[in-house]
Symmetry: C2
Subunit: 215 residues, 2 copies
């Protein structure tokens, strides 16, 4: 069965896919050949029907009473998300968060290869973070073209977010993973996704203040 | 108008509130007294009706043709999210990501005061990251009680996530912001929120592979 590209994809479904993937990989590492919908549903705290719907978007086939073959499930999710094709990325802004992302070893498993950092601070230029070199911002355009990088991870302070975005786009970056709280403006051909840590904190704060029990 | 606590809160609404807050604060800093629904809608790339519905949960009142008073809007969002009451938190696991969170200066504005880190690595004990002391894990229970900390930010490697969670709960932590990819198991009285960076990467990957244009 081919992935159902025509189906309307829901954001929560996509956000849960890495979760299913992690569970399937853990089971496979433990020698489990199959994974049942019930097991996945219990692990994630959702109804089995939701799990089945979620996984249907990847085109994977389950068998009644058996569940999914762990390896098929892993392949289906990774190929659906495009994580089986490694792509390279630059980190722009190597403060605390940018440095953490340079050193984060969880991205490679998802097809993301962070290869270098860029910064304005003269003290950082030509140093390394987690074995990855930090270049001056002026070199971004040249290296983006030479290394054929399309993806930039934006980690600069909020007040520099838009001007840095403009520089990234001028350099030829067409996908921006935005870790700033700023709603950056980009032309139509540039894809962005905002990863605002404050959004997560908002959900947690509300849960803690007991205004909601489940979101 | 009191916050409409009875309304069903939608996750995307809550996740957008910090976004509105950021825009309102920027406008207020620039001397703008009011902010229109249209302006907010354009900035975030949503319909005005969605913006109005989102903000209604906070209980703020807008005026036709004028919009919201920037200061009222800021107060309403911060008070709704509980960000006007500072709460203290520990970072558990001070690798790359944990260190970044210790040094992240954006949390204080949201009522989160990260006061110390905990780690197992003897080389890190009693050092400081961003002016915050790193303690050994064995001290967690004692310090949680003495400093009345309820919130822990979990940043350990995936393979230690559950055992560390158990230690945090034994120590008296009742809210866990989980930065690992693991679905940690907690008793009913403990609140958790998972901040999996892979979820954001999943959304971005799909956008980039043109399977979706908007989520």
């Amino acid at each position: 069965m081919a992935p159902q590209k025509d189906k309307i994809l829901k954001l929560p479904t996509i956000q849960r896919l890495p979760n299913y993937l992690h569970i399937a990989k853990t089971l496979k590492d433990n020698g489990e050949e199959n994974v049942s919908t019930t097991y996945l549903a219990n692990k994630i705290g959702l109804d089995s029907i939701v799990v089945r719907k979620d996984l249907a978007v990847t085109g994977v086939n389950g068998r009644p009473g058996v569940g999914y073959n762990s390896e098929n499930l892993i392949d289906a999710i990774e190929s659906f998300l495009g994580w089986d094709k490694i792509s390279d990325a630059f980190v722009i802004g190597t403060g605390c968060l940018g440095s953490a992302l340079l050193g984060h070893n969880g991205f490679a498993a998802h097809g993301l290869n962070v290869i270098a950092g860029f910064d304005n601070d003269p003290n950082k230029i030509n140093t390394e973070v987690a074995g990855k070199k930090i270049f001056q911002m002026e070199k971004l355009a040249d290296l983006t073209v030479r290394m054929r990088v399309k993806l930039g991870i934006l980690c600069v302070p909020a007040e520099h977010a838009q001007e840095t975005t403009d520089k990234m786009i001028d350099a030829g970056i067409t996908g921006i993973w935005n870790f700033t709280p700023v709603n950056i403006e980009v032309p139509e051909n540039v894809i962005t996704h905002q990863q605002d840590l404050a959004s997560g904190l908002a959900v947690l704060s509300l849960k803690l203040s007991k205004k909601m029990t489940r979101v």
